[in-house]
Symmetry: D2
C-alpha cells in the first residue's frame, strides 16, 4: 500500500538524518569508534580499567584535605576531588575557600603524589585554575553555561563534565560537543542523578545513561554516587551497580567528620566508612574482571 | 542555645514518629527483620539466590508461548511471564487473549514444568485466575487500584506488584501493605522504571529503589529491565546492574519474532538474542557469588 | 536536493498518519467539530457557560453534607461533589463510607435539588451507583483502569474523567476514548495537576492542558483547583486562571470544619471561606463575559 | 500524651525556623511587605498595572528588529525583548550576533523610544551591556550561574531573572536573593515553564508559581508564554491565564517571518498574528480591571 511505502521512506529518511547529525558531532562514536582515553598525570580513564575519585565535598582546611588524602593513599587511589568554589542554592551558605582552597588541594596533592579534580564555576577562573588543578570539573548547574564550556574547551586540561540537574542525555552530549569543538577532547562525562518527583533520594540515579553514553560517544563515563543518591547508605550498592554497568570512574565524597562538614554533611562518608566502602568495592571489582 | 535545643527535640520527635509509623506497617523490615521468601511451586524468591523470569510481552498463540518456554528451559529457568490481559493506552490496540491466553500459559507450563506469572487487571478476574496462574501480577497502571490490591491480598497466591508509572517508593510500599493487610505476605516488589523528562529510554530505571526497598521492607525485589528501558540494547547492562545492586529477580521479555509482536515489539529480544543474554548474564552472575 | 525531497515526503507522511489516527478517535474534534454538551439533570456543561462543582472531599455524615449543600445553594450552584469511596495511599487511612455515603449524597441532593458527582473505583460498583449518582467520577489513580473505563462507557450516565497523576495529554485522550468507544459520549475531562519535582504545591496545575484538550477533543474540560494545588490560598487565583483560559467547569472542595476532616484537611475551604471564594469568583466571571 | 507534646514542640520549632529563615531573605515579603516596583526608564513594573514585553527570539538584523518594534509601538508597548547572545543546546546552532545585536537593539530602541531587555550570559559581558541595555535578562540555563547573579547584583540596572529549567520555587527565590544581596533590588521574576514528562508542550507552564512568588516575595512576576508552551496556538490562552492570576508582565516572541527565524521558529508569532494577539489581550485585560 501507499501508506506502507510512505512509512518506509519516512524511516529511511529519519535514519539518514540521524546518522548525518551524529556524524557531525566530534564526540560521537559514529565519527570516532575508538574509546578516548583521558590521561591525568599518567593515570588513565577510559581504557577499560575502572577507577575511583574520592575526596571531601568542600575544601575546609589543609588538615582536613590531608587526612582524606592519606586515606585515599591507603587504597592506592591517585585521583582526589574537593571543592574550592561551591555553587550553593543560598547566598548565605558556605561558598568555598576559593583560590585558598585550590592552593590547599595542590599542596596536599604534591606532597602525596595525587591528582586533583575540582570545580571551576566561571570562565575568568579557568586560567588561574590551570596552575593548581589536574582536572577541571564543570558542575551540574553549569552544564549549559556555554561560555564556561567554550573556555574549558580551549585549554589543555582534562575536563569532567557533570550532567545538568534535568538535562537530557542529548543535551549532555551536546554540552560535551561544545568542549570538544574548542579543541579539547580530554572529557569525562559524569552521570550524577537527575531531578524527578521521587523524594527518597536526593536525585534519581539514571543508571541507564552509562551504557547509552558509552554507545553514543567515545568518551569515558563516571558515576557520582554521592550526589545522585544523597544517602550514605546507598553509596556502596549504587557504586556496585555503576561498576557492573560499565562506568569507567566512580566518584564519592569522604570527610573526616561529616557531622561538622560545611556542606552536604548527610551524604559524606567518614574515614572508617570510607575504608569499609573501598574494601567492599575493591573485592566486588576484582570479582567482575 | 535554645535554638539548638529545639533542633534536638525536633529530631528526636521526628525519629520517634517515623519508627512508630513504620512499626505499624506489616511489610516493614522494622516490624519483621527477616527476609520474606516467596515460594512459587517450590522455587523460591528472596532467599539470596538471584533468579530470572522471562517470556513474551503478550500471549499470542500456543506455538509462540511454547517456543519461548523451550528456550527458557535450555537455561534451566522455571518462571515464565506472559500477558493475557494487556492494559493498553488505546482501546484499539491488541487487548490480549484473555482467558484463552491463561489457558495457553497453563498448558505450556504444565507440559514443560514451568510456573506462570501473568497480569490480572480487575478484581472480578482474580478467582478465575487462581486456576491457571502461579503468580498474579498487579501491573504499574493498577498499583493504586486498591480494590484489586485488596482482592489479591485475600487469596493464597503469590503476587508480583509493579511500581506505578510515577509512584513514590513510599506509595509503592503502602500499596504492598494493602495486599499484606489482607493476609497475603507472598509479595514480590518490582521496580519497572519511573516516568521522567528523559526520552532516551521509555522510562528511567530507578536502580536505587532496589536497596531502599530491601532496607525498608522484608519483601523480595525484582527489576523489569524491559519496561524500564524500552530498549533491547540496554537489557543486558541494566540486568547486570540489577544483579550487582542485589535484586532478587530480573524480568525481561522474549518473543520468537519481535518484529511481528502484537505489543511492544521494539523492546523484546528474539530467541537467539535471549540465549546470548542468558549466557552473558549467567556468566556475570557466577562471578558475583 | 534529495535530502530536501525526503524531508517533504517525510512531513507529508507524518501529517497523513496523524490526521488518520485522529480521525479514528471518536473523542477527536477532527471527527466531530461541534462541542459535546454534557447534560446533568438539565444543567449543561460544555455549552459556553462556565460552571462550578463544589463539595467536601469525603462524605462523613448527613449533617456535614447538608451544611455544605446549603452553602452551595446560596450561590445558586446545582452540582455537588463528595467522595463515598476514597482511594487512599495507606490502607489504614479513612476509606470512605461506601454505599452509606452514596445514600447520604442522594438524600441531601434530593432534598435540595442538587446533582451529585462522586467517584466509583471498581467496575462492580458501577451498577449500584446508577441509583444514587448523577455523574460518575473516574479518579486520577483509575484513569488507566481500563475495565472501569469500559464499564462506565457502557452505561447511560455522564462521566467525569480525571487526568492520571502523571498521564500525558495523549494518554488522557485515549482513556476518554475507551469510554466513548463503549457508547457513552457524556464525558467531562478534568485536569487536576500532574506530578513534577516541584514541592511548593501538591501537584503542578498544567493549565495549558485546558486549551489543548478543548482543541483536540469536543468534550468539556474541568479544572480541579483543590487537588492540583493542595493549598487553600491558591484556590482563588488558580480558579480565575482556569476561567480565563476557558475551562467549562471549576471544581473545589469545601468542608464545614476542615481541621477535623477525615481526609485532605489542609486543602479544603470552610464555609465562610467558600462564600468569599464564590463571591470573588462570580464577580470575576461576570467581568469575563 | 508525651507524643502530642513532642508534636507541638516540633511544629513550633519548625515554624520558628521558617519565619527565621524567611526574615533573613531580603526578597521575602515577610521582611518587606510592600511591592517592589521596578522602574525601566520611567515605565513601571509591579505597581498593579499589567504590562507586556514583546520582541523577536534572536536579533537577526536592524530591519527585523525595527519591523517588530514598529508593531509594538502600534499597541503602545514600550518594552522590547530580543536576544543578542543565544544559549543554544548545540554549538553548531546560531549563537546570536553578540555585541552587534546589542547595538541594533539600542539603535532601534532609541529611534522609537523603547526600552530594551536582553539576555547576558557571562559576568564579563555585564559591564559592556550597561551601555546598551535597559533590563538585563538572566536566562533559565543561568539561573544558578551564581557568578553571573553576583555580577548583575552589583550593578544599577533592572534584572529579569528567569526560572531554571527545573528549578524549584525555593531555588528560584534564593537565586533572586543572590542578586538582591549584592545591592540591586530591581528584579523581575519570570516563570517560563518547567521541565516535566509531558510532551504536548515544550515545557509545562507552572501557573501556580505566580501567586506563590507574589506571596513569598515583594518582587514583580512575569510569565513568558512563548517558552513555557512552545506553541503559537497557546500564546493567547496562557497569556489570559497569566493576567487573570495576577502576573505583572507577560512576555512573548514576535518575528516578521517566523518560518525563516534563526531560532525557535515554531513558537514565534508573525506580525499580523501579533496584532490579533495584542488586540484580543488588551480587550481581555480591560475587562479584568
Amino acid at each position: 500500500t501507499i501508506k506502507h511505502l510512505f512509512k518506509q521512506i519516512f524511516k529511511a529518511s529519519l535514519e539518514l538524518q540521524e546518522i548525518d547529525y551524529e556524524r557531525t558531532l566530534l564526540v560521537s562514536r559514529k565519527a570516532h569508534p575508538e574509546n578516548t582515553v583521558v590521561n591525568i598525570n599518567g593515570e588513565t580513564v577510559g581504557d577499560g580499567v575502572q577507577r575511583f575519585v574520592m575526596g571531601p565535598c568542600a575544601v575546609e582546611s589543609y588538615e582536613q584535605v590531608r587526612e582524606v588524602a592519606l586515606a585515599l593513599k591507603e587504597h592506592g587511589l591517585t585521583l582526589m576531588r574537593g571543592g574550592a568554589y561551591k555553587p550553593r542554592t543560598s547566598p548565605y551558605d558556605f561558598q568555598g575557600l576559593g583560590v585558598e582552597g585550590l592552593k590547599i588541594l595542590r599542596q596536599v596533592a604534591d606532597e602525596l603524589e595525587l591528582s586533583v579534580i575540582t570545580e571551576i564555576v566561571t570562565p575568568q577562573d579557568v586560567e588561574l585554575a590551570l596552575d593548581y588543578v589536574d582536572v577541571i570539573q564543570v558542575g551540574a548547574r553549569n552544564m549549559q553555561n556555554f561560555e564556561l564550556l567554550k573556555t574549558v574547551g580551549s585549554v589543555k586540561k582534562p575536563v569532567l563534565l557533570k550532567r545538568g540537574l534535568s538535562a537530557t542525555i542529548s543535551e549532555f552530549i551536546n554540552a560535551a560537543e561544545y568542549i570538544m569543538a574548542g579543541g579539547n577532547d580530554q572529557i569525562i562525562l559524569c552521570e550524577r542523578g537527575i531531578r524527578t518527583y521521587e523524594r527518597a533520594t536526593r536525585n534519581t540515579l539514571d543508571i541507564s545513561a552509562v551504557p547509552i553514553l558509552k554507545k553514543e560517544t567515545h568518551l569515558p563515563v563516571a558515576v557520582d554516587v554521592t550526589h545522585s543518591t544523597g544517602r550514605r547508605d546507598l553509596l556502596l550498592p549504587t557504586a556496585k551497580a555503576a561498576l557492573a554497568i560499565g562506568a569507567d570512574l566512580v566518584m564519592a565524597e569522604v570527610h573526616p567528620d561529616p557531622a561538622v562538614a560545611l556542606s552536604d554533611s548527610l551524604q559524606q562518608m567518614d574515614i572508617p566508612q570510607f575504608h569499609d566502602f573501598m574494601n567492599e568495592l575493591n573485592a566486588f571489582k576484582e570479582r567482575l574482571v
